[in-house]
Symmetry: D2
Subunit: 351 residues, 4 copies
């Protein structure tokens, strides 16, 4: 089959690889209908993710059709239309029982990282019963690919951890795909103000279309002042970091109101300064989280009820054969205005 | 009347001052029966608290008897036996309504800081109805002085923010009076492990007597390794910082388990390094808080039910006339083994 | 001044009464701009509310302008544009500190019940600092009258107590003004299904316009079956009782899913059967609540952000001189299709 | 092997039965070391549990040693020392993912009810990975049998659902084994008052020894008055029903304070009167729950840390051969003063 393979820092290739086989009795093989590219895939390609060895098929998002199941799989059978979670969860370990699937002792984020991933014709999914989600036969596959990673990440790490509430004031630092997914899901809780902060004017425009009540361009170095003005000098109840660099985290420290929360989503490569000499008395909360995808069933219901349209995040579409073009489009987002790119495989459900 | 007055960095004096008068209709004047000295008083004396001007009477803890009340005070009258909260709260502003008395727009920590305090024969208490607590006539005044600040601080900033739960593993970094108050109140929630970390062997011994299940001396630079060993390599569910310097906060970052909480109590003078390059994916929570004293009614009930004996924290007793000796004893805690020192005034309730 | 006075069961009159005076230092006098009639006013007129004595001016909702303030009032001054809460709260007692203003030991629901109310030219508001809410000069007075009682009641007793969550399935039994206010505020949390149950086809039609995803007419005695069908045999996560009779509460018992919540809003006159022989093992929660109006500040923000338009609830408008007509219109809601009727006083803010 | 078999209403027999076999790949066979008798076993014997057919081996509690495991079991292997949960949980279904194991679509309370149980030499445990708990080799088997059902039931249905908090006032109606298990586990949260209500003076005496701060004998019909006196006329924050009849539930309605919670544990056979005409405005919460045993890992940690000694509940010990005597002792608790009786099997761990 065709698969996009990581060949070491800076290198990737669309290669021919054998069809994956069942290994453990709880495995399933899924034929990919639609997949996509994540910012984390780019991190791997830069060589920033040491757990991902050269030779690995990339990708941890996707929708498809079950092809085979091991004898221990009871919830799925061949032909089922499924959403693949970016997090594999055994459902048995101490972390899984606490709903912290991200730290499953035999799972977590392993797809397209420690085991072969979804940017291929087929993929092996371990712990299938607790890592796949049944979707309706006729479900919109493109929309649901957004539920593999980006929507639960924005929702769990940003919105839930940030305790977004009706009437609240929320700032999201970073209007990339994750920041925008956070913006969409924050609206489940009806905040009064949703301030979006990004350097890219196109993304700010998208943000306004997606429901931001105000946008701030930090290029003049005065983002914090502007947010304070927008909030009557009070700061925001929730500041969500969706970039992953010290400057954006510091901005969150500068704009969070007393009693507020900083919810970190960004993948950070270096430490940041935490100004406890100022914040120790401010009754704030800071949270970090690798997405657990425990809210996938809830998100499926919300999407199916039409409360949000995840397809808003999709800007480009490619065939699996053209996945290298897809990567190029996604990597050069500033000029292509790409958000999420859909890669079409061969496993679309007939239903 | 006699009062201990801050005379600028490094200076203090026991002076004669006029008896305080009612200023606002919601004020009360309280005759001090017992007061104490807080680590924050030492911070002021070092010149670290710019809001506190020379000439200020120090002290924000105390128990006494109401002497006078303004016409707007409805909950208290002269003769009432009362506990003074270290936090003054109007009960009306947006922060007070959210239970964040520490950020009351006309109160907060002002006693012995922005207005004259309790290390005197009498003190003026603003917002008396919501800043004093009625105590039984025959209540143990020494025990209840511990409820002005130190017990609610340990409980709210450390135990509640740290989400201490039955069966949990908790480490408290710092076994000074605040760390020990945290240790006492953490036991309200029956954690399975309570690890106490401090350089002072006497304080570790006290900690064991107060209920610590293990103690760690970090002087060999291996505190984190020892905590990891004590927890089977897992780390602690709750790490409570009760010192206020970068090294102790970093230790908390090193020992917190995935999914755990770092609850900061310490008053920090400089920024700390937050290792997000490691912690971004660890699903942790970090909290800061200036005590709100919203749990004072609950703590009064727990103390009165005999669940804890706050007098365990008291090591020395002085008359108000000898308050300079009390300061010296408290400042040289390493040699005097002082925890909390009681200063006896003249306002003990006759009951 | 003119005032609508309760003259004993079945009797009311528009009378001339003296302008109210300040009694306690914490009182304010408010000139009424807009008020409305509540279902509870009808209960009083039937003689069902023994705490309300003949001679009482009715009404506990309203928006107006502060006319006078007592010397203990610090947050308001004459000329301020204000919303009147149906619940008076001292902000000091144990219940107020816990946010349970409904049980304030010197307040609670006393307006238009134990003290004279708002269906008059002016009204005395006790505990003004914590019972009035400042609103913008130019605020829409009609919309905000809905925040005196009906919106916080639906939101606190129905939506918050019912733990409505994104993706959840909610049924509201009763599509009168309170049920519809609940329907509007439930959408702050983006439930996937909102099933509205009522006998009145007009109200069901209004409910669909207000966001109900399905409606059920229980007149055929099969409401429970229909709800079970709509939910795939599972029942609802939240069943909200907004009528106040045994039959509607029983319907909630019949449709709540395992793990779900029954949130009671209705004012009940008789006991109901609780089928514990079936429900003991169903992990359900039942809540009751007299509105506390603790969410008024949050609701003001949400309304001002445009998330909901409370004016949707208003069907008729009258002058204070015609308040007897207003009552007749409101009482004969089945034929007049009245929801909330606005009574216009003389205190509209000039701003 | 020997097994205690339900032979229809009023009948039971110690019979010879074949050793159980693995059926599903996720099954384990456990050799019973210690088991016990539950009040529910008596309900079955009265014919009150229609899901339990004659011929069924009774018992849903036990500690033992794993004898065999199916190929789908990954967390256990023969020889492991294990605690058996009274609730079987697949870990995969919607209810299990929400932590509501009691409603597992292929599990729940099936042991000794819909499938053969633990009052035998060996037992088949379905969904072994998520229904057994590893215990230390040298663990006290008698103590841990109390964690199969009675301690998690008291803790989850009574203490957690009842939101017991430090400083709170709690009443437990019923001082049988479940009520006493609730009393023990309520102390994890340091309530100030723990009032125990029961007709049996011996059980009230046991309750005082277990930590009750007051006891009430309701035989004079004045239990509610007495509780109101004990609480200064206020009522209790938490009223826990641990009997299962209308009179005891009504008592809970009479003594719960405004804002309080009634947590039902009792298995009810008939409906009860819910006095909503009085309670609608009292801001109370009523909860029901079939134990989920989600807190078993937490309880294991608390027991191992020595916070409580579950053996306090054990009054009698029998060999499996004498299980009929054990039943008689347990059934005649009033005269034998039996609480929990231990039945010793043959599967004690050699460790």
């Amino acid at each position: 089959m065709k698969a996009l393979v990581y060949r070491g820092p800076g290198n990737k290739a669309l290669e021919e690889r054998p069809i994956p086989e069942l290994v453990a009795p709880t495995d399933a093989i899924v034929k990919i209908a639609k997949t996509t590219i994540c910012g984390t895939d780019l991190h791997i390609l830069k060589g920033d993710v040491p757990t991902c060895a050269p030779g690995r098929i990339l990708g941890h998002e996707g929708v498809g059709t079950v092809e085979k199941t091991g004898p221990g799989v009871t919830a799925f059978q061949p032909g089922d239309h499924v959403l693949i979670s970016c997090i594999s969860a055994c459902g048995k370990c101490e972390y899984c029982r606490r709903g912290m699937y991200s730290h499953c002792t035999t799972g977590g984020w392993i797809l397209g990282n420690q085991i072969d991933g979804t940017q291929a014709e087929q993929v092996r999914i371990p712990h299938a019963d607790t890592s796949l989600y049944r979707i309706p036969t006729e479900a919109d596959e493109e929309a649901l690919v957004m539920l593999s990673d980006i929507l639960p990440t924005g929702f769990e790490c940003g919105v839930l951890n940030g305790k977004v509430q009706p009437g609240a004031t929320v700032a999201i630092v970073g209007a990339g795909p994750i920041g925008l997914a956070t913006l969409l899901t924050a609206q489940f809780y009806s905040p009064a103000e949703l301030i979006m902060i990004d350097l890219d004017p196109n993304r700010l425009q998208v943000a306004r279309r997606f429901g931001a009540t105000a946008t701030v361009d930090p290029s003049n170095g005065k983002a914090a002042e502007q947010v304070m003005q927008l909030t009557g000098g009070r700061g925001v109840d929730t500041a969500i970091e969706a970039v992953g660099i010290p400057a954006t985290f510091l901005l969150c420290e500068d704009i969070v109101a007393p009693g507020g929360t900083i919810a970190n989503i960004g993948v950070h490569g270096v430490k940041v300064d935490l100004h406890l000499e100022r914040l120790w008395s401010q009754n704030i909360t800071i949270t970090t989280r690798l997405v657990d995808t425990v809210t996938t069933p809830m998100l499926l219901k919300v999407v199916q009820s039409g409360k949000i349209d995840p397809r808003l995040l999709i800007t480009h579409r490619f065939k699996l054969d053209d996945i290298l073009d897809a990567y190029e489009t996604f990597e050069r987002a500033a000029s292509t205005q790409a958000l999420k790119v859909i890669i079409e495989g061969f496993g679309s459900h007939p239903g």
